[in-house]
């Protein structure tokens, strides 16, 4: 009975996703009727400049914010590792706060702070700028990257720290005993060991940023990300085109998930050998 129940739950989990995928292969003009079958809507996606621009923006934002999050987060983990006491507690509290504060509050807070900051900075730039066409800071690409990288940096810190804490201390001691310099120990022992954690942190950060709607909705200004584009088009009604881009996204996230899992397994196998 439990088995039958679990099958039902899996059906519940996958039916909605399957519906979207199936309806992206329709030939009909309407999203609600299904005429079998073709990939013409995928072609339409590629020809839709707005959708492609939104997709490109999302990929760019996800990539850059994930890089920032991974580098800043990993550096912080390594520096914090030997630190104890109140300073360490402050950083731990900040990390958890960045994760727990709801996305919507992060969005609102970043919007309020950046708009206030721009109100102060823009007149100042204008006053020191030699000509009258001084650049104006405004919400857009960089504010989304910044807001995303804050949240995802906290995720990276937790993932990389877990990995580092699972490392056998004797590996480092052995390295020193064998006359490795701190630098060699870092690049040849510690970095290779934490690398799978760093990569899964990066992938998680990328996925989070790519999927995020609510933070970007507040801080993107006139910039459009793919989730914002999809949200505003489904408000006007679902189209087969939206289903097609959704199918592409689903396939893409599946690939990322399997890459992450494979790397994790490889990492585990490697540390098992050591």
């Amino acid at each position: 009975m439990l088995r039958a129940y679990s099958t039902l739950v899996y059906l519940f989990l996958y039916t909605p996703i399957l519906i979207v995928v199936v309806f992206s292969f329709t030939l009909s003009k309407h999203a609600t009727s299904f005429e079998c079958c073709g990939i013409s809507w995928f072609g339409k996606v590629l020809e839709n400049p707005f959708m492609m621009e939104a997709l490109f923006n999302s990929l760019r934002i996800a990539f850059v914010s994930a890089i920032i999050a991974t580098v800043f987060g990993t550096l912080a983990v390594l520096a914090l590792n030997s630190m104890r006491g109140p300073m360490r507690m402050v950083y731990d509290a900040l990390t958890y706060a960045a994760i727990i504060v709801p996305g919507i509050v992060i969005g609102i807070a970043t919007l309020s702070a950046l708009v206030s900051a721009f109100d102060i900075i823009n007149p100042w730039i204008a006053s020191v700028w030699p000509t009258s066409d001084a650049p104006k800071l405004k919400m857009g690409y960089f504010s989304v990257v910044a807001a995303h990288s804050l949240f995802t940096m906290a995720l990276v810190i937790i993932i990389v720290r877990t990995r580092l804490e699972s490392m056998d201390q004797r590996l480092v001691e052995a390295s020193y005993d064998l006359y490795a310099t701190p630098r060699q120990t870092f690049f040849r022992v510690i970095l290779p060991y934490i690398f799978p954690g760093v990569i899964s942190g990066f992938l998680l950060a990328f996925t989070f940023s790519f999927d995020d709607f609510i933070i970007a909705f507040f801080v993107a200004g006139s910039e459009t990300t793919l989730p914002i584009y999809i949200f505003s088009s489904i408000r006007r009604g679902i189209t087969p085109e939206v289903n097609a881009i959704s199918t592409i996204i689903i396939a893409f996230s599946l690939i990322l998930l399997f890459v992450a899992r494979a790397l994790e397994k490889k990492g585990l196998a490697k540390s098992g050998q050591q």
């Binding site: 088995r3 989990l13 909605p16 609510i214 689903i250």
Partner: protein
């Protein structure tokens, strides 16, 4: 690993390595949160925006958005409870009954979680919309029932969206549970049902509490599910915030609502820590 200095560098190196993260936390977390606190006691500018002031008027005015708070505080617990009821048997099945397919079945729970929340939510428009379940039920002879844009649709969306998040913590506690305790209960004459309610459930309480709190906290800031499946008829606090910040542009009032959301969340976390603490005390007591 605890105290060894991994980077071997000086204080200066460590300071430089921490600098980017520190700047990010200060500029993108602490200052923005300080900004909403300041905004929430300020006054609304003539064209929207914000004028510095000190007034508690916006906090006094929270009642104006009572409906949003009421919906959030009824549907979020309801959805959390629904998640729990549906997730528990699955977590139990995964932890206790499967062995061979376990990692595959677990991956199947993770996959939807990695798939865009927005896409998974709008998919329900198909199922709950006029041509979906309602017309199927009509075909079976029931009266036509509107499902989309109702509190029920939002509850289903919540359960669907957050189910994986509830399964995991429960699975983890059940997996760690000492299976000999179940055998002992059986040996002492307890039936399957008695064992389940008096041994399994109490021992998996930490997972139940963690999962429920995770889902509940995330739900309090929910915007997409009510926006997509509630059709602007059933508002959550998140929807009120989007309205106040992006449409009607009453930032100070919006900031006051955001602050109350954070306070509600902190209360929830406080209750959570207390519950978990009490549970650990009990376990410690019974261990003596």
């Amino acid at each position: 690993m605890s105290s060894i200095n991994l980077i071997g560098g000086s204080r200066m190196t460590r300071f430089l390595m921490l600098l980017p993260a520190t700047l990010w936390f200060v500029i993108l977390l602490l200052l923005p949160i300080a900004a909403i606190v300041v905004f929430s006691v300020g006054e609304r500018g003539p064209a929207g925006g914000f004028v510095p002031a000190f007034t508690l008027e916006h906090y006094g005015n929270l009642g104006a958005r009572w409906a949003a708070f009421k919906n959030t505080l009824t549907l979020a617990p309801l959805g959390t409870f629904g998640c729990l009821i549906i997730a528990y048997p699955l977590a139990y099945f995964l932890a206790i009954h499967t062995s061979r397919w376990k990692s595959f079945l677990l991956t199947l729970v993770i996959i939807p979680f990695w798939t865009s929340f927005l896409i998974r939510t709008y998919a329900w428009i198909y199922i709950l919309g006029g041509k979906g379940l309602p017309s199927f039920l009509e075909f079976l002879g029931f009266d036509y029932m509107r499902m989309l844009n109702t509190p029920g649709a939002i509850t289903v969306g919540i359960i669907y969206g957050y189910l994986p998040l509830m399964v995991f913590p429960i699975y983890v506690t059940l997996e760690r549970l000492d299976k000999r305790l179940l055998e002992a209960s059986h040996d002492l004459g307890a039936g399957k049902i008695a064992t389940f309610f008096r041994v399994t459930i109490p021992l998996s309480l930490p997972g139940i509490i963690t999962g429920s709190m995770l889902v509940f906290i995330l739900l309090m800031g929910e915007f997409l599910i009510p926006a997509i499946l509630g059709g602007g008829k059933v508002f959550f606090v998140g929807n009120a915030l989007v309205d106040l910040f992006l449409q009607s542009r009453n930032w100070p009032f919006g900031a006051a609502i955001a602050m109350s959301l954070v306070v509600l969340m902190l209360i929830t976390i406080g209750v959570y820590l207390k519950l978990v603490g009490r549970f650990h005390d009990k376990q410690a007591l019974s261990a003596m």
